[in-house]
């Protein structure tokens, strides 16, 4: 049993100089066989294991992670959470996640610092205005809170934005989802790992998958750096490396892995109390609780697994940031990094069975997977446990690339996520 985190446990542990805190998760060696193995110990993978154990009573399972948990894209994103997607299928998927976020800290007894500070999306040209108005209406029909803001209302909501009509990308309006916001990315991975561990899930770090053993039509186990693990169900949640794992099983996926960059500034006093996204110029900014500006840039257009992006991408983003927020002109950037994102042709994820029985893929989240972490885990767990998708992720199957029934969020909604 895990000790409960509370103000009392904090005070109690202060008396022993915080040296006697219980370990949040064990460091197990892999067993010979599991009922299911999740490949990838990021937020989505750990959440999948958590819900498999909690809702589907599958306790004899493991999560294998080649590095350390939360060390991939979970720790490399800009932590934006929202659900204002255009299409019904996406709206259902992302709002399912948002509803879980709203009670997640209590459920996990782990403070994920979910902050519903609102997310504002800016319109910079007439097409943006039309698209964002259409999206606002679509959101409201799907029961998702959304309002359209005029330029004056944008300025009122976030006074530091430059709304002069003379700038290169003038602000013509925007949308606001008040339930949207941010969360602490590491805490999400740690909270799910602790919760899963408590229910008996083995979270195995530094264990890289080297091969997938399959009979002609079903999975028999995985080859790892810590030996062979026998299992009938393998759920792959490997983000940018999904294609690498798929190749091991002789599958091809409709994915391209590209570097996506982000950067943070030196910490300053509170200056921006919401999240502002500008899809047209690929500039997203919010402020972390430490005071750093968290800035998201765009992806490079070539395939790369190097976790580095091109300098001109960052330069373009900062040009746009400076024009929209002249007050940031003397800020210094502290750190910059890249994450490898797996992008689908329709910019929607894949949560799906495959042609191989017992092999499931949860991938293709591209530039916007963090926001979906709890919902993705919940629905993927359902898919693995029942060998059938939940109705909320049925549209996100691999077969849509054959049938043509794509969930085209790329062209129709915001390119950014």
């Amino acid at each position: 049993m895990k000790n409960k985190y509370s103000i009392f446990s904090l005070v109690k542990n202060a008396f022993s100089y915080h040296e006697n805190w219980q370990k949040a998760w064990k460091d197990p060696t892999p067993k010979k066989e599991y009922d299911a193995v999740i490949v990838g110990g990021g937020g989505h993978g750990l959440a999948t294991a958590y819900y498999l154990a909690k809702k589907h009573n599958m306790k004899n399972i493991a999560v294998v992670e080649k590095g350390w948990i939360g060390g991939g894209n979970t720790g490399r994103n800009t932590t934006i959470i929202r659900s204002n997607y255009l299409w019904d299928a996406s709206a259902g998927l992302y709002d399912h996640a948002l509803k879980i976020w709203e009670g997640l800290s209590q459920e996990l007894n782990y403070n994920v610092m979910f902050s519903q500070r609102g997310v504002m999306n800016l319109a910079h040209n007439l097409q943006d205005v039309r698209d964002l108005k259409r999206r606002t209406h679509a959101n409201r029909l799907n029961g998702i809170d959304a309002v359209y803001l005029s330029t004056e209302e944008v300025k009122k909501f976030c006074p530091i934005i430059n709304t002069s009509p003379d700038i290169r990308y003038p602000v013509l309006g925007g949308t606001l989802q008040r339930r949207a916001g941010t969360a602490r990315h590491d805490a999400v991975a740690w909270g799910y790992a602790r919760g899963a561990d408590e229910m008996g899930v083995d979270v195995i770090q530094n264990c890289e998958v080297k091969g997938i053993k399959r009979n002609s039509d079903h999975v028999e186990g995985i080859e790892t750096t810590k030996g062979f693990i026998k299992t009938k169900k393998v759920g792959v949640v490997a983000a940018g490396h999904s294609s690498v794992i798929a190749n091991m099983a002789g599958l091809r996926l409709p994915l391209e892995s590209k570097p996506l960059q982000a950067l943070v500034s030196e910490p300053v006093k509170p200056i921006i109390d919401t999240v502002v996204m500008s899809n047209a110029v690929h500039a997203y900014v919010s402020q972390s609780d430490k005071g750093e500006l968290v800035i998201g840039a765009g992806t490079d257009d070539y395939v790369s697994y190097s976790q580095k992006g091109s300098h001109q991408i960052v330069e373009g983003t900062l040009n746009a940031i400076l024009e929209l927020y002249p007050i940031f002109s003397r800020m210094r950037m502290l750190r910059q990094w890249g994450g490898i994102v797996d992008i689908c042709p329709d910019a929607s994820p894949i949560l799906s069975k495959t042609s191989i029985k017992g092999l499931y893929f949860n991938c293709g989240w591209g530039t916007g997977g963090f926001k979906a972490t709890p919902g993705s885990g919940d629905l993927f767990a359902h898919t693995i446990a029942n060998d059938e998708p939940h109705k909320l992720n049925a549209a996100f199957n691999l077969n849509r690339f054959v049938s043509g029934d794509l969930v085209d969020e790329h062209g129709a909604a915001a390119v950014a996520h």
């Binding site: 490396h241 294609s243 690498v244 190749n247 091809r252 996926l253 409709p254 994915l255 391209e256 892995s257 490079d300 257009d301 070539y302 395939v303 790369s304 697994y305 190097s306 580095k308 992006g309 091109s310 300098h311 001109q312 797996d342 042709p345 690339f401 054959v402 049938s403 043509g404």
Partner: protein
């Protein structure tokens, strides 16, 4: 970010170029004969290799010509550049 040796213009900064994805994907000769699965393979499925990959690039802000490149996607090291229509080297 890297420097690309355009076969027509010489060494230029990568930001002058546009990546065109996986190379040597041939357009089906008999499109009407193709099944849905074969169309999906042609249109959407990609190798997306971590390691040495064959790609097409376009010198978009230069001569605007297309060419092929062999590049290691794990460290962005360019192994070889050859013109369109030339046969891919066998590793």
């Amino acid at each position: 970010m890297f420097v690309i040796n355009c076969p027509y213009c010489g060494e230029r900064d990568q930001q002058e170029f546009k990546a065109g994805g996986e190379a040597h994907i041939e357009r089906p000769k008999q499109p009407t004969e193709l099944s849905d699965d074969e169309w999906a393979e042609y249109l959407f499925m990609r190798k997306n290799i971590k390691g040495v990959q064959f790609e097409r690039w376009n010198h978009a802000h230069g001569c605007r010509k297309w060419f092929n490149m062999v590049r290691d996607t794990s460290n962005d090291e360019i192994k070889l550049i050859y013109k369109m229509g030339e046969r891919p080297p066998s590793e």
